[in-house]
């Protein structure tokens, strides 16, 4: 449910100039507890994002940002045995909805190759059961490399405890008209794409 880029059916952005970051005290504490968990080495950011993505779709769409974030955190702490669901539910005095179980991860593409600025690349047409940081709207699409990052942990592995090498990400520039033919405002859309997701055009 998390992969929303380009999905139709949503209404106007509820923007205001004095929009708040937090609305309630527990949101601040939920956010700080994530920092505690990271500092304590309980989880990494890829596991965390994946845990949020694994939320039951109805729950994901009904929850606000900090409830989603905290559901991801609690799911991992329970799965890793840091705390038990029973203990949390007893302390909370009610049911605590957690995310659904994880599928399997994967390692780097052993056949991946380096690209340089200006290279024309195509995103592979891949469907994986586990975590991936490729938004669906670029699957199979071609663009141009405009920037290259330092190497990062490979999310498809890092979210699953699978060993993998770090990979750079490439800022790939797509034409919105290529992403959604006849269905987008004209723009250049840039996405940071891991090396393993890319192939030569």
């Amino acid at each position: 449910m998390h992969d929303l880029g380009g999905k139709q059916g949503f209404g106007r952005v509820r923007h205001s100039r004095d929009a708040q970051v937090f609305h309630e005290d527990w949101e601040k504490r939920a956010n700080a507890l994530l920092a505690f968990a990271v500092k304590s080495g309980y989880l990494n950011m890829d596991e965390y994002r994946h845990a949020i993505e694994r939320m039951e779709p109805r729950h994901y769409l009904a929850a606000g940002y900090y409830e989603r974030a905290f559901t991801g955190l609690l799911t991992l702490l329970v799965e890793k045995g840091i705390v038990s669901r029973e203990e949390l539910e007893r302390l909370a005095g009610g049911v605590i909805p957690l995310a659904l179980p994880s599928a399997r991860g994967r390692g780097n593409d052993p056949g991946r190759r380096r690209f340089v600025r200006g290279d024309r690349v195509r995103v592979k047409e891949e469907f994986v059961p586990g975590h991936i940081r490729m938004p669906a709207y670029i699957r199979g699409k071609a663009g141009i490399v405009v920037d290259i990052s330092p190497a990062y942990p490979f999310p498809d592995a890092h979210a699953h405890g699978v060993h993998a090498e770090d990979e750079p990400t490439y800022a790939v520039e797509f034409r919105s008209q290529d992403l959604w033919p006849q269905g987008a405002d004209a723009a250049l859309v840039h996405v940071d794409v891991f090396e393993s997701y890319l192939q030569r055009t």
Binding site: D3, G5, N31, F70, V95, Y137, Y152
Partner: protein
């Protein structure tokens, strides 16, 4: 899970985790109290505003900022979380407008431009801005002339982005501090121009 039991509201879930960690002898509460202050007091858009004002007044800093954002903001005493390994600063010009988003979650360079506002994390912005950029910006009060090129940046990995707005006319001779006071979080996200 019994169907009968009520769902615990989020504040009870948070309190439950704090209690469970405490019962294991972990000093989570003190850490959380301190971290809440960090999120309220340190992760504020005034950081990014200082960066922007400096870039507007110091051409050499501007060059360094555009070449390596993370190193350049460190000159101003600003740091980023360890997993943000790269800060890319996107320079607006009179003919070019940049806007950032995160379609899959809600990633931002929060230690520089501040934590994201609620609408940035909402499904509407995440779903629509990559596909209907001009329409969404218009709905948010930013009318761009038709000849203005739009570049959208989807924060899909741990590289972080911020927009460097165009310095408004009429600000000649202003101090860095005064310039910083007009730079907003919305402008550094790219849903406003100054």
């Amino acid at each position: 899970m019994s169907e009968q039991r009520p769902v615990a509201p989020p504040e009870r879930r948070v309190a439950a985790l704090e209690a469970a960690l405490e019962s294991r002898g972990l000093d989570a509460k003190a850490f959380v109290d301190k971290q809440v202050r960090v999120s309220e007091e340190d992760w504020v858009p005034q950081n990014g505003a200082r960066v922007v004002a400096k870039a507007w007044t110091d051409p050499e800093f501007r060059k360094r900022l555009l070449a390596n954002g993370k190193d350049a903001v460190a000159e101003l005493g600003l740091s980023m979380p360890r997993h943000h390994r790269h800060l890319v600063v996107l320079e607006n010009t009179p003919g070019l407008h940049n806007v950032i988003c995160c379609t899959q979650c809600s990633c931002t360079a929060y230690s520089i431009i501040g934590l994201p506002p609620d609408w940035y994390k909402d499904f509407e912005y995440r779903a629509r801005v990559v596909r209907e950029s001009r329409t969404v910006l218009h709905e948010m009060g930013l009318d761009l002339p038709p000849e203005m090129e739009i570049r959208v940046w989807d924060t899909s990995a741990d590289t972080r982005y911020m927009v460097l707005p165009v310095r408004p006319s009429g600000t000649e001779g202003w101090s860095e501090e005064r310039l910083a006071s007009i730079v907003t979080k919305d402008a550094m996200i790219g849903v406003a121009r100054l």
